[in-house]
């Protein structure tokens, strides 16, 4: 009984440690005061000023644009790459898989700076295009990792059976392979989208020309002191990412059944 209680307490302690800051932030986004430390009543005011803030609305637009475009490109590229890797011989497959997972383990700052160096070396102007390219680059490995297991699950004979029945490779791909790996592709796309929304470090080094995403906007606003508006924005972002995560988890759970 005591052991059970200790277990429960310990779990709660960890949750408190993890989520207390977010809870505080969320609560204070409804605080009717310019002062961030003192509670002075409930208000939706900050959410309203947020929606009237042109800078933030522009950042929101770029964030969503970059997330959609980079997730789409990364999904297509990652899926094709997963196909290539799936049909490779064992040692080559291992090698390429390891190369694929290095960017995932690589610190964001290294990825960000190396991409920037590359863009500058190619004399590309930093802006929307470079930001999208950077997001594609760090998203592709995640798509590969979510599509590959679906290909592995597929019976090796499936493609041959389709072609045997008269399907051209393209027809077989659309009618037989794609439906089999669809869930992996969608999950990969959702992960890519979420990571893109979430990213700060890599975006920070690879943008310019007044193109900023939400995390960069928050960062630059925070330099001039934390306003309750930022709390409101952070709250919205947190809720959005949470919803996305629940969606992804639900998808994987359904597939397991």
């Amino acid at each position: 009984m005591v052991r059970k209680w200790i277990k429960w307490f310990y779990t709660m302690l960890i949750f408190a440690f993890l989520y207390a800051p977010i809870v505080v932030l969320m609560v204070f986004s409804f605080n009717d005061s310019k002062n961030t430390a003192k509670w002075e009543g409930f208000t939706f005011r900050w959410y309203q000023t947020l929606s009237e803030n042109g800078l933030i609305m522009k950042a929101l637009y770029y964030t969503v644009l970059v997330a959609i475009v980079s997730a789409l490109i990364a999904t297509v590229m990652g899926t094709l790459a997963a196909f290539g890797i799936h049909y490779m011989k064992t040692w080559r497959q291992k090698l390429v898989l390891n190369i694929n997972s290095i960017p995932i383990l690589n610190p964001d700052i290294v990825t960000g700076i190396s991409l920037m160096t590359l863009f500058v070396a190619f004399k590309m102007e930093l802006g929307l295009v470079t930001m999208i390219l950077a997001h594609v680059a760090f998203n592709v490995p995640y798509v590969v990792l979510s599509v590959l297991p679906k290909l592995k699950q597929m019976s090796g004979d499936t493609l041959e059976a389709a072609m045997d029945l008269g399907a051209t490779p393209w027809y077989a791909f659309r009618k037989v392979i794609l439906p089999e790996i669809k869930s992996g592709i969608i999950t990969g796309g959702l992960i890519a989208f979420t990571l893109s929304i979430d990213d700060f470090v890599i975006s920070y080094f690879n943008t310019g020309n007044g193109v900023t995403n939400l995390s960069i906007a928050i960062y630059s606003m925070a330099k001039r002191g934390i306003k309750p508006e930022i709390n409101a924005l952070a709250t919205l972002m947190f809720i959005f990412v949470l919803v996305m995560l629940i969606l992804i988890n639900k998808r994987t759970k359904i597939e397991e059944i």
Binding site: T158, E160, A161, A162, M163, D164, G166, A167, E180
Partner: protein, 349 residues
Amino acid sequence: MKDKIVMGRSLTKSYNGIEVVKGIDFWVKKNQFLTILGPSGCGKTTTLRMLAGFESPSSGQIFFEGNEITSLPPYQRHINTVFQKYALFPHMNIYENIAFGLRINKVSEKEVKSKVAKMLELVNLSGFETRKVNSLSGGQQQRIAIARALVNEPKVLLLDEPLGALDLKLRKDMQIELKNMQKELGITFIYVTHDQEEALTMSDKIIIMNQGEIQQIGTPTDIYNEPENAFVADFIGESNILDGIMHKDRLVTFAEKQFECVDGGFKKDEPVDVVIRPEDIKMVNVDEGILKGVVKSVVFKGVHYEMIIKGASKEWMIHSTQMAEEGSTVGLLILPDDIHIMSKEAGYA
């Protein structure tokens, strides 16, 4: 040439320099049931995959109704395949699985419906249209796989150990069903298996392969009664295989005795393999037999007893409907007709 619907000419396949099929020649006639039989790794599945178009031969040619199809992709061959592991499409229901080939050929929906219904009736699974693939048992899935392959009305059906994953009773039933189907539809079947009994039951013609080479081609009766070498004899049913010396035509020595036999055409005193089927050795009284031995073990096999009899130089396996007591001494009689002499060189690997 005309009635040889599929023909392979010096077909060779090698992977990384290792030949798994070594220049084999064979053909199958229209409406024949051909079985390619051999132990695992003998190249039989590779041969079938070359016929289907999944593998391209390293050298050699494949002909279909007299036209070369060696380099044609699988979707341009009028040949369909039934896979060992069914390979049904899990995201489609049974109806869509069977209709797959018809949809590619843009058959009208009305015709699709009637053809699918006909196929389901053929494989005794009417009413399964809307069922999901993974709600079916292995045997049912294999029937659907057969229906899916047959709906395209292929001239040749390739079957790659289609019954391998089924239990014994179901396998026996399906063997008879497949054979009936083949006769009824008048389609050429090319069937790959490692099960010699299955091959003997179903086939019109058997190709026996070992280590990438054809050991013998013939009817089941030919292959059982007249195996061309010790490998075939050993692989098809159980056999007593001994070393012997062929003194002259129709006279052979083995087990330290001289025997009359019916074979000839060997060199003087050529070493040979002597093959005797267990059921061809007659058990008689000690003084009537040419050989004698002590009964070492007796196993009841249903129709007959399988006995191991320890002779002077060799243990004999015999099948007999009569039983001898373990430990008793019996005489053995072998008639000239039942002694099969095989050259040592003839392809025995």
